[in-house]
Amino acid sequence: MTTQPSGPTAQAPYLRIENVTKRFGDFVAVNDVSLDVRRGEIFCLLGGSGSGKTTLLRMLAGFETPTAGKIYIDGQDMCEIAPYDRPVNMMFQSYALFPHMTVEKNVAFGLEQEHLGRQEIQRRVGEILEIVKMTSFLARKPHQLSGGQRQRVALARALVKRPKLLLLDEPLAALDRKLREHTQFELINIQEQLGVTFVVVTHDQEEAMTLSSRMGVMNHGQIVQVGTPSDIYEFPATRFVADFIGSVNMFEGKLIEDEPDFVRIRSDDLGGVIYVSHGISSAPDATVWVAVRPEKITLSRQPPAPAGGTHQPEAAAGENTARGTVKEIAYMGDMSIYLVKVESGKTIRVTIPNVARHTEDRITWDETVHVSWHAESPVVLTR
């Protein structure tokens, strides 16, 4: 687990989930999850379908009761509190706008339940519609709105109650790609403007990375790792996380040299030795996995010279490299993906940014190349 490097760490958690378990019959949807979310954070729960993220969110909203464990919001135990009495609002994946009510009525619905005066309701509805830029659609019904507009109304309807916690279930899933990008930044802006704590559930890693200040990766009902997006990308704790977030080349190997500031791993996957310039904690001779991100690998026609790094001793010649043949090139515009089959038989994924617009001397199909990486780049995983 990594700790947040910046921010007020002394602050008590705003949302505290303590050993929460949820069973549906024999199936354990959420398995002993503990989690702290700070005030004003955007916290993303990232996981595949069936990972338990939605069940966890529904327990926060009060639609499901935990089989075991406790949930505290702002120090208050939520177990006995019905959904309609919780200081929590949710933005549903389907938006769940009331089809028979206008935009204005939809947004006012939550405030009417608080028995506020008509003028107060009108004022606050006006304010929030201003923020989500939907003032001119006041009298429309949901079916007269586009997907993006519906999403804004759903957001306004949830925010107008000034919840302590806003839960968002796949907030951008129903939007097309261009609109998603735009909406992501807008969501962050609105969150900063209002200071509400967001808990977002998503299966889309890109969405989680851009939105969240911290995120938790879920698998099989458990939280596998919690950290900032860059923590999780650069220092994944397990093979699952490394593989789930972004793409990664994974080499299985045996620890042959284990020093406090470097390790050597013999990997049949690579057909050579991997030298990593930081220590790890594992038993000698243990099986480990070395994860190298595609963008941290370089391609060259000549065998690479032993890299000049700051670490001593340094990687020997022939380490952290392998020879192979380019099997596939995918041009993505901003970068190209190369699939290189090395002599051990493994295919390695390499991404190269397309810096120049047109290079005569670009590496092409069926060329023999050397893949290599810096001794600092790999992450060694023990599980």
């Binding site: 909203a61 009060g62 639609f63 019905a82 959904p83 309609y84 009495d85 929590v88 609002n89 949710m90 549903f92 389907s94 769940a96 706008l97 009331f98 089809p99 028979h100 619905f109 939550g110 339940q113 608080e114 019904k141 079916h143 309807r157 949830a158 109650k161």
Partner: protein, 299 residues
């Protein structure tokens, strides 16, 4: 070519019910409408022709409005109309009050028990309608099942008169028409998106408020469809009031049949029928107007 055949296919599909309606509804109605303007006659057929021909030349059109005027001079018709409307309206409300919770419960039950429950709703149709109404006589009459049980238990000492009262008519109509209320309500309620109820709860609405503000307004088309399916046939109901109903107060269906068959006054009977249809067209048109609106809103 495929365009042409698709066009023909559509015409055939629409054409069959159209032909059905024209032959079995529109033409008979025109005949009845025509008869309602004739004069009664002791002949075969028992009414005077509307158009008088000499050879092949039309010489006179005899329109007789006296039949309609007669409906308002004899108190029997007005009071029968009003009584029919009252019985139909009360029965509709009772069906709605009974049927809505039932339809709601079926729509919210598990898919397997849903099939069984719907089966149970439809099951009575397997027995003849007439037999089922007769069965109520056995239940409701002075020495019938209900009175006998109540007396043997000692709750009452004199039999309660239930048969041939308003009560027995309501029992008969509500019992017979309840499925027509439940089925359209069920098909509406079953389609409701339950996340809307969760959203309402999330926004602070109690279960009752969520029902009142979300479920009820959205089930309005079902309520209207069910109410019309009960109200319209109940107004013209003939069998139930004849078997179970009062003898001192007739419903319009009974008046209609008496005029046709006992009195053999076809023109007046036709006028009664046309007038009743006129009364019923109003709610049907309201329904269609509403249907159109919800169709447009539901796009």
């Amino acid at each position: 070519m495929p365009r042409f055949s698709a066009h023909v296919g559509r015409r055939i599909v629409i054409g069959i019910p159209m032909v059905w309606l024209v032959v079995l509804f529109l033409i008979p109605f025109i005949i009845v409408f025509k008869i309602s303007f004739s004069e009664v006659r002791l002949a075969m057929p028992p009414f005077a022709p509307l158009f008088e021909f000499v050879g092949s030349k039309l010489v006179a059109v005899r329109l007789n409005f006296a039949n309609y005027a007669f409906l308002f001079t004899d108190a029997l018709y007005v009071s029968s109309y009003l009584y029919s409307l009252k019985v139909a309206a009360v029965s509709t409300v009772l069906c709605l009050l009974l049927g809505y919770p039932m339809a709601y419960a079926i729509a919210r039950s598990s898919p397997t028990s849903r099939t069984v429950l719907l089966m149970l709703i439809v099951l009575p149709f397997w027995t003849s309608f007439l037999l089922r109404v007769y069965a109520w006589i056995g239940l409701l009459k002075n020495n019938g099942v209900i009175n006998n049980v109540l007396m043997s238990v000692g709750l009452i000492h004199e039999p309660i008169t239930m048969l041939q009262t308003d009560f027995s008519v309501y029992v008969g109509i509500v019992y017979s028409y309840l499925p027509f209320m439940i089925l359209p309500l069920y098909s509406n309620l079953e389609k409701h998106d339950l996340t809307l109820i969760e959203a309402a709860a999330d926004l602070g609405a109690s279960p009752f408020t969520a029902f009142r503000r979300i479920t009820l307004p959205q089930s309005l088309p079902g309520i209207i469809a069910g109410s019309l399916l009960v109200f319209i046939p109940a107004v013209g109901e003939y069998v139930i009031p004849s078997l179970l109903g009062r003898t001192d107060q007739l419903m319009i269906g009974r008046v209609l049949s008496d005029e046709f068959f006992a009195n053999r006054d076809w023109p007046v009977a036709s006028a009664v029928a046309v007038f009743m249809l006129g009364l019923l067209v109003v709610p049907i048109m309201l329904f269609q107007h509403f249907e159109k609106r919800t169709l447009e809103a539901g796009k």
